[in-house]
């Protein structure tokens, strides 16, 4: 990895907040223009992935532990489906957000925000999970390889 490249480390540290802010912008602007949970989720995940690529996956895992990731994936789906069910419980059709607010338009506004948040949670954590799964495997394989070499050297 590029752990020793000082320029990258500095630039990444500077970029990270910007990426995250941009992700949030995409997320909340999705209500009015192009954007939304999918794009924002990928952007947010990209920030962590970039961090992991530069500072190592263990460091990234300290920021967002895999256990959190594994809870986040289903949680997002739950938020999405739960919002739908909330509409259903309040007397309208599944995924009809109108009854969530005092006026149908407010309700729909609120509903879509929550749903998009659910999408953000799931998409970002899924991206991270994929990154951890593949990237982490290389680290483990390296560690195993080194351990094997050490073992051979010792004997």
């Amino acid at each position: 990895m590029m752990r020793d490249t000082i320029i990258l480390r500095v630039v990444v540290k500077l970029l990270l907040p910007a990426i995250l802010i941009f992700a949030l912008y995409v997320q909340f602007h999705g209500d009015y223009g192009p954007g939304g949970g999918f794009q924002a989720g990928v952007a947010a995940a990209a920030a962590i992935i970039l961090y992991g690529m530069i500072f190592g996956i263990p460091a990234a895992k300290q920021v967002v532990p895999p256990s959190v990731v594994f809870v986040m994936i289903p949680l997002g789906v739950l938020i999405y489906a739960g919002t739908g069910v909330a509409g259903l419980l309040l007397g309208d059709n599944f995924l009809d957000y109108s009854p969530l607010g005092s006026k149908p338009v407010y309700g729909q506004h609120l509903g879509i925000l929550i749903v998009e948040f659910g999408v953000l949670v799931t998409v970002s954590s899924t991206m991270l999970a994929i990154f951890y799964a593949f990237g982490g495997r290389a680290d483990e394989a390296d560690a195993a390889e080194e351990a094997r070499k050490d073992g051979e050297g010792g004997s």
């Binding site: 289903p74 789906v77 739950l78 007397g91 599944f94 009809d96 957000y97």
Partner: protein, 493 residues
């Protein structure tokens, strides 16, 4: 209030249960959630059947957006019937899954298995219930992706390659389906199946529409493993965990067959369009080959799960044969065989799972004499095997009867003969299993076996009894299927 939302709940209940399983992740709790969700789905599907019979077609607008802009769930007798079959088979398999999964999947992954199982169920139910063409693709991929994962969880390392090959074939199939849907959308500007059914007849001679039909046919054929596109199926069923084999064998291909019904008879069904294409003949020829070639291959298998997987391909041939006849008894036979084959094949894979659970091997040779040490399991397999070959007083007889009758009504005498000869082929491979299990001296290993645990045996036997029951009382199978076939042919949707 609940009654009005049943179509949505049908899909939402397993969909909500899946992430719950994933969050809790502990095997037993996940199993309990899956159990409750699946049984709820089954109850909902029965309620839907009753509702449809009483009130006619149900339309449910997701998010309150009216079709064709919004996505619509549309339930008629055909998909209500398939929903009932899918969720019913699942409802029997889930109690069985606990012990079976405990022996086959490491503790840490059990929660994931149930998550995948529920997602697969969600996908299958979604494909069946939705009235939106693109939604079909999405749900189809949800079910396919989760079934790839379930298959890959098998103990044998060949499960991985089987899953990979299924993934490649399945994705190609799904992509073909999207291409077909895309062409239809480009030509008509709608994705709603009901709307499509209205608009397609006017332009059915247009080349993109014919191309769409071709893409859809090939794509769906891949998903339902119509000969010769079945190559992914035998290994996938053979090396998946027993519960997954049983579930997939019972339901996954059946839902793909449902898509045939929907596209051939609803979307392209207007004014005898389906009949005017060469498709019925092509499907008939492929079905006939499917009835024999995989059946003969099955005879020479040494792995019992592969044997019955090949048998599945052969039985799918019987179903598609009914579709190719495109007559009311033919479609009735096909629909009834969807249900009957789902029951029988799921039961067979469950009971075979019992043997694998005790014996730890899938090789036929290792099962010599197992009829003596596991009498109930083997007796169940014999009854279900008899059902497969269409012995009277079993469910299999009823479906073959309708298929033969349909062939007869169209004056296809030779086809009646072939249908019956197809049964003879199944007789040979079932006979081979029976002979090894009963008339060989048990090895020491087999002699030391105990009968399978009750929690696995009872669900298996529920399907055995269902096989006999539906061979004698057909109000819930033929009764519904006949009306459904009639509505398909009159293009009511």
């Amino acid at each position: 209030m609940i009654a009005a939302h049943l179509p949505a709940l049908q899909v939402v209940v397993p969909l909500l249960a899946a992430p719950l399983c994933a969050i809790l992740r502990q095997g037993t709790i996940a199993w309990l959630i899956a159990l409750v969700a699946n049984w709820c789905a089954f109850v909902i599907s029965i309620a839907l059947v009753l509702q449809v019979r009483e009130l006619g077609i149900i339309s449910y607008e997701l998010g309150g957006w009216a079709p064709p802009i919004g996505i619509e769930y549309r339930v008629d007798l055909v998909n209500a019937f398939v929903l009932m079959v899918v969720s019913g088979v699942g409802a029997v398999i889930i109690p069985y899954a606990r012990k079976s999964i405990e022996s086959e999947i490491p503790r840490a992954q059990r929660g994931w298995f149930y998550t995948m199982y529920l997602l697969c169920l969600t996908g299958l139910l979604g494909v069946t219930i939705t009235g939106d063409a693109f939604n079909i693709f999405v749900f189809l991929e949800i079910s396919s992706l989760s079934s790839y994962v379930m298959i890959a969880m098998g103990r044998d390392r060949r499960a991985l390659t089987a899953s990979y090959r299924y993934l490649i074939m399945g994705t190609i199939g799904a992509t073909f389906i999207v291409i077909g849907i895309g062409l239809l959308w480009a030509m008509t500007g709608t994705l709603n199946l009901n709307d499509l059914a209205d608009r397609v007849p006017a332009i059915e001679e247009a080349r993109p529409v014919l191309a769409a039909l071709a893409f859809l046919t090939v794509g769906i054929s891949l998903k339902l493993a119509l000969f010769p596109l079945h190559l992914w199926l035998p290994n996938a069923y053979a090396y998946a965990p027993s519960a997954a084999s049983a579930f997939l064998a019972g339901t996954a291909t059946k839902v793909a067959i449902y898509l045939f019904f929907r596209f051939f008879f609803t979307v392209f069904g207007g004014e005898g369009f389906f009949d005017s294409t060469p498709l019925p003949e092509i499907i008939m020829v492929l079905s006939i080959v499917a009835m024999f070639a995989p059946g003969v291959v099955a005879i020479f298998q040494s792995n019992i799960k592969r044997l019955f997987a090949y048998s599945s391909v052969a039985q799918i041939g019987f179903i598609t044969l009914g579709i190719s006849l495109a007559s009311e008894p033919g479609l009735t036979g096909a629909l009834v065989h969807i249900a009957n084959h789902a029951i029988m094949k799921a039961g067979l894979f469950m009971l075979i799972g019992c043997i694998v659970f005790r014996l730890g091997s899938m090789r036929l040779e290792d099962m010599a004499g197992i009829g003596r040490t596991m009498p109930f399991t083997m007796a169940g397999i014999v009854v279900l095997g008899l059902g497969l070959l269409g012995a009277p007083a079993t469910a299999g007889f009823i479906s073959k009867w309708y298929l033969a009758e349909a062939a007869l009504l169209q004056g296809l005498w030779w086809l009646v003969g072939l249908i019956l000869l197809g049964s003879v082929v199944s007789m040979i491979y079932v006979g081979r299993v029976v002979e090894i299990a009963y008339f060989r001296e048990p090895s020491e290993k087999v002699a030391g076996l105990k009968e399978a645990p009750l929690s696995m045996l009872i669900p298996g036997w529920v399907l055995v009894i269902a096989t006999i029951y539906f061979g004698l009382d057909t109000t819930w199978t033929v009764g519904i299927a006949q009306d459904a076939a009639a509505s398909l042919l009159s293009a009511l949707y």
